[in-house]
Assembly symmetry: C2
Homo-oligomer: 318 residues x 2
């Protein structure tokens, strides 16, 4: 069975949306990514750090979902990373209310021996220094290294980020971050610039507007499923990365053509995450639901343009 | 040959973008729509109004492009509608600098006899009272009535707009207008609400994020082509409507399946318009370029997700 190693945060989140408040619940990039990837036929392994307040039921939850958490360090005298945020009716805007890094501040991961030859390495949003260090701990180059980052690191550790970008295969960021990182003003100019920084592939996430996959030669546009209600967008990007890596590791085909399917798989899982608070939807999916939703995505963009050229005005041949 | 009648403004535009200034040039919804539709094998007819300052070369331009302008009233002692606007690096924002309605203020169209039985009637952005009046001048119900509107009419003439929405088949608006018109907060909830107001189909235009086509039962997501540079977005929506109606009139198939192709055709023409100032690109397209770009759209969203279910985790059958 192929192995996926995910390095990222585990957290308590407290989220307020126009639909209600979540209270303290399981969060963190690694939680969303690992739970999404766990639906695929592969071994999912998490490297992370938590405090003594991280509840046993969460450890059990991961274990029950076939996620290996032997790479999660527990610091009993510390507290787990905590994030509180608020969404408004326009779910594209969010406000951070509290960020208590707590134990995450001293996260200096040492990959367990059994985690040093994965098929895929997913570096969720973390300091680029930590991301770089983990790459260098690998015994052999993973088939695919996927990296997520955010505006904070672009603004505060650009040099370190540029260094890690040279080591990876796939960068996933959102459109605002792509503009910030590239200094360009169209998505395509931004993509050209960023692909020049090292990654072979770039995925620009646009939330409800879908996602774009770029290589130097090709572009693929993946839709987002228009949902009747977006309940809580937290973790959508991390879920996307987990679904993408899960799909890629299972199929073992790293061509652009198959990456398209990976982007669809990521989008499918992300579309479930936003339907409920936190990981609620993600821990209870049935295989039929997933397959049905893949079909929904296929249907959503399918069209069959007639090849006939008789539709054009013959007088207009210039 | 099937007939398309377009009712809408002709204008002088003066546009400033980060790439430069256009100077006074041909503009107006009817100009963009008619020029896009003129590439299809049909008869394109414009109902509009201009002042004595509307240059002969523009009349000639339409005639040369096979657009019938016998429905354009000329008021020699008045001035043509004038609009000046400015775009910033983020082309999604624009600022209106000058709006001189001039002769457009007294636009009270009387459709010529020869225009009263068209296959398709396109009511470009105008007062809903004018749009309603033109519908009532038709001798028999067109096969398809397409209507465009904007935030200004939603805010100032909602009742009149609601009345005209009961008479039409396809409404095209942008996402912000859809939220405003429906009072809903997701694109899908907005679509459900608006389809309850009368139109059989709704197209929500999202600029660089593509467009969504809704019926009561189905959704289609059309991408936008990621362009390296967006030169001037003015007229993209009007071009879209013209390309859509041109395609639909030529094929004569008003099913949801064929409307998808119409949305792609509209998107294809809009992608050309934004590459240059005003109608510059739209008056000089070669058929090969159009066909190549249709292929680009087909390629952009094409993927082939494997039907095998062996990718899923067998331990996870709940």
């Amino acid at each position: 069975m192929r192995q996926l190693v995910i390095v990222g945060s585990l957290a308590y989140d407290d989220i307020e949306t126009p639909r209600g408040s979540s209270g303290r619940m399981l969060g963190g990039a690694a939680a969303y990514s690992a739970l999404a990837a766990s639906y695929f036929d592969l071994s999912v392994n998490v490297i992370s750090i938590v405090g003594g307040d991280f509840r046993k039921e969460f450890f059990d939850l991961f274990t029950n979902q076939n996620v290996d958490i032997s790479g999660v360090e527990v610091h009993p005298d510390e507290k787990t990373f905590f994030w509180a945020g608020k969404y408004y009716e326009d779910m594209n805007r969010r406000q951070t209310l509290i960020t208590d890094l707590n134990v995450l501040e001293k996260f200096d991961p040492e990959a367990p021996e059994a985690y040093r030859e994965p098929e895929i390495l997913l570096l969720a949003n973390l300091s680029p220094l930590v991301q770089y260090k983990v790459i260098k701990q690998m015994k052999r180059r993973p088939k695919l290294i996927v990296l997520d980052t955010m505006d904070f690191w672009i603004m505060t550790m650009l040099e370190e980020l540029m260094q890690v970008l040279k080591e990876i295969d796939v960068l996933t960021i959102n459109d605002q971050e792509a503009y910030m990182l590239s200094g360009k003003h169209t998505i395509r100019a931004a993509a050209e610039e960023i692909l020049g920084m090292g990654p072979k592939y770039l995925i620009i996430k646009k939330g409800e507007h879908g996602a774009l996959l770029f290589s130097k030669e090709k572009i693929f546009f993946a839709p987002a499923l228009p949902l009747l209600e977006i309940f809580d967008p937290t973790g959508a990007g991390d879920t996307f990365a987990g679904g993408l890596c899960g799909y890629m590791a299972t199929t073992g085909d790293y061509s652009f053509e198959n990456l398209k399917n990976g982007v669809i798989a990521g989008s499918v899982f992300a579309s479930f995450t936003v339907e409920r608070f936190g990981t609620e939807r993600l821990v209870s999916l049935r295989q039929e639901e997933i397959i049905q939703r893949i079909d929904d995505f296929i249907e959503l963009v399918k069209f069959d343009f007639p090849k006939s050229q008789h539709i054009f005005n013959k007088n207009k041949e210039l």
